[in-house]
Symmetry: none
Subunit: 423 residues, 2 copies
């Protein structure tokens, strides 16, 4: 954590948040903006529309010494909009009616042909001494008030309004406070567990200037380094980290620029003018869907045959039915034949195939839930491998998708080094 | 707010949350589950991996009188996983190593053929007197400890693990505390907008005993009614609501028992012993993947051809190339031919097809981003329809998936009424 001077508390009021009806996306977004500006979010707090929890939270913030508080929600005209009352009582400043601020609210309604109700007048009332902040995208203005050294911003909770008011009023104010410099570097990793990464990182001299965090996301393990000093110190530490990874670095490092697994594979295949197809059983189209989720994937992706029945594997992918009978659908020979079948059906340079037991039913002692066979057809060979994934049906499917994509990435890289494409 | 006895505080630790890198979805999910069980979330708090903010938060919670605290995150093996240390210091209970809990962690690695690192040993250390909670879907166990009348649960932060541990350990414990009576009724709706639903609901007498909320989810609009009085009052109001929907009720109501769109379609097709296949362009396997995500889908789902290139549409789905040339890939004739091709290729009773412009590029004035043609082949006819969806690439694809599935559901229902399957 940086100095207390750079710390901000974000408080969102709304029973719809604490009852789990609405995801609090505002706190997440504001924290990201604060980070980019060099400020730290010390607390993200969502509260119901209730005086008790507000009071205890306010006391904690004040006693913790946080000097900037961003409050969202509860500024509308209805009875459950309590924020302006709560703040007025907490700061012991009466609410003052500002008729000049009722005019733009009236105008907002009339210009949209909507009837204006007197209940909106409350939206033109603000704690005594507050600076009113106009709302460029909605009716309720916000306000800013400094009290006992704490500067407090109140904005509506509607995400578009909260964001617009942050950019218009809060960000400029924060910048004027003299934000510290803050630099980050993100490396996406695969083929390494979080605990193995920890062992590697222990060998790296991060200096006192660089901190790191690691976070598993669906396609990779994201390593973030950050520093208040300079981009150069991050580069220095990054070089040490990559050296510590050793000769496996090229297999492990997916990207250094935030690109995800599919984006990296697209880039590699685009550079080679090669295309890929998939034949999917347990993943059921999820590899295809993950690829198609990237704009521009049509340049490298031909299509997929989702073969969820054995007859489909035979008829559309040309898997010999005796292979299925002899080895079962979840087996090396079958998944290999599926990859070959997809490569041929789509006339592609590359093909991926999966066949596994995603559960929760269908597992046996020999072939437990989580067992997935995966195959990769390259321009000049086909190979298969298996994993036993843990988790529920969705997790097993998603892990299968990104396991085979990671191996594909490495296969493309190795292909590039060791031979020329046969196409 | 209900009685303080029913109040729960949710605390999530992780600098990735407060730096705005990761959206805190766990607090949202847990609050929803607590609500369904009759408990109130008094505080949702996300904190960085830091002792100061943890200490001030703990003091606030204790002084506020909250007696149940659910803590997520920071139980992994790396140095930024501070939760077990923070709790141990706060409660003044030393961390105790439980060798019997290291065994399952070791096993987790060895059963996957992965090397076990000693850094994982910390995951078998728990505050003195804590009850260890096994983790059914990951390595790090959680724990439960009651201290000065406050019961505190700690679980990993990975959403799938946090959810699994809530269901396995926390929910049963909460139920045993004697939750207040609380009744809910969930109706999943499609083919109606949220604002049109609002107009219908205004006509319904909810009595003073019943509240409602609506929430859009990916496959439907979920209407929840809840009451502290009785299940009967919910049934009474539900009947009024369905009457207010009028003759469209059967099209609009997807389920009254929490079943999602795919589960309802599975049930309908299972009852008819019929199968379905898909031919997907813009959705790129996402319909298939959504169907396969349901266990048991193999009984009704044959497979899919993801035809992301025009040649694939021609060669694998038999779409005449002159149709594509004349009308373009995103057109009624092509999507109709795709559905017919899938029905034939997979020998299925039903087939779905999609072809659209998911963006952000590729739109024209005539065929803008968001335009999607969808077709449904039934046992005795094929029909197509188009929509212009708003949103980003992912949203357009997901809306396409659930729009065509909703129309499929209605088509199956109508088929049942008006004719006998030709198969």
């Amino acid at each position: 954590m940086s100095n207390i001077k750079n710390q901000v508390a974000i408080i969102n009021l709304g029973t719809e948040l604490t009852q789990g009806f609405t995801q609090n996306t505002n706190a997440h977004w504001i924290s990201g903006r604060l980070r980019d500006m060099g400020f730290d979010t010390a607390y993200q707090i969502a509260l119901p529309d209730s005086a008790d929890t507000w009071n205890s939270t306010w006391n904690m913030i004040r006693e913790a010494g946080v000097r900037m508080v961003i409050i969202g929600g509860g500024l509308g005209p209805t009875a459950d909009d309590k924020t302006r009352d709560l703040i007025a009582k907490t700061l012991n400043r009466p609410l003052v009616y500002h008729p000049e601020w009722e005019e733009p609210i009236k105008l907002w309604f009339t210009s949209r042909g909507k009837p204006y109700s007197a209940s909106n007048q409350i939206q033109a009332c603000f704690p005594e001494g507050a600076l009113v902040l106009d709302n460029p995208v909605g009716t309720a203005p916000g306000f800013q008030v400094t009290h006992e050294g704490i500067t407090l911003f109140a904005t509506p909770g509607v995400p578009s309004e909260a964001k617009a008011m942050f950019e218009r009023h809060i960000a400029p104010w924060l910048l004027a406070q003299g934000a510290p410099k803050f630099f980050t570097k993100e490396t996406r990793l695969a083929e390494i567990t979080e605990s193995d990464l920890e062992l590697v990182l222990r060998k790296v001299d991060f200096t006192e200037e660089v901190s790191w965090s690691s976070l598993p996301v669906k396609d990779a393990l994201v390593l973030r380094m950050y520093s208040h000093k300079s981009p150069e110190i991050l580069e220095t530490v990054q070089a040490r980290f990559e050296k510590a990874l050793g000769e496996k670095a090229h297999s492990i490092i997916v990207s250094r620029d935030g690109k995800n697994m599919v984006q990296v594979i697209m880039e590699l295949l685009n550079a080679r003018h090669e295309m890929i197809a998939t034949a999917e059983s347990c993943t059921g189209g999820l590899i295809a869907s993950e690829i198609v989720s990237e704009s521009g994937s049509s340049a490298i992706f031909a299509g997929s045959i989702v073969a969820y029945q054995n007859e489909v594997k035979t008829q559309l992918l040309g898997v010999p039915s005796d292979l299925i009978e002899q080895y079962g659908a979840v087996s090396e020979p079958v998944v290999t034949a599926m990859a070959k079948g997809a490569q041929q059906a789509f006339h592609c340079d590359w093909a991926l195939a999966t066949s596994g037991i995603a559960g929760p039913h269908g597992g046996t002692e020999e072939k437990p839930v989580g067992l997935t066979w995966m195959a990769i057809a390259t321009p000049n060979k086909i190979f298969a491998f298996q994993e036993k994934f843990l988790g529920n049906r969705e997790q097993i499917r998603l892990k299968s998708v990104y396991r085979v994509l990671s191996r594909l990435r490495i296969a493309i890289l190795e292909q590039k080094i060791t031979c020329t494409s046969v196409h």
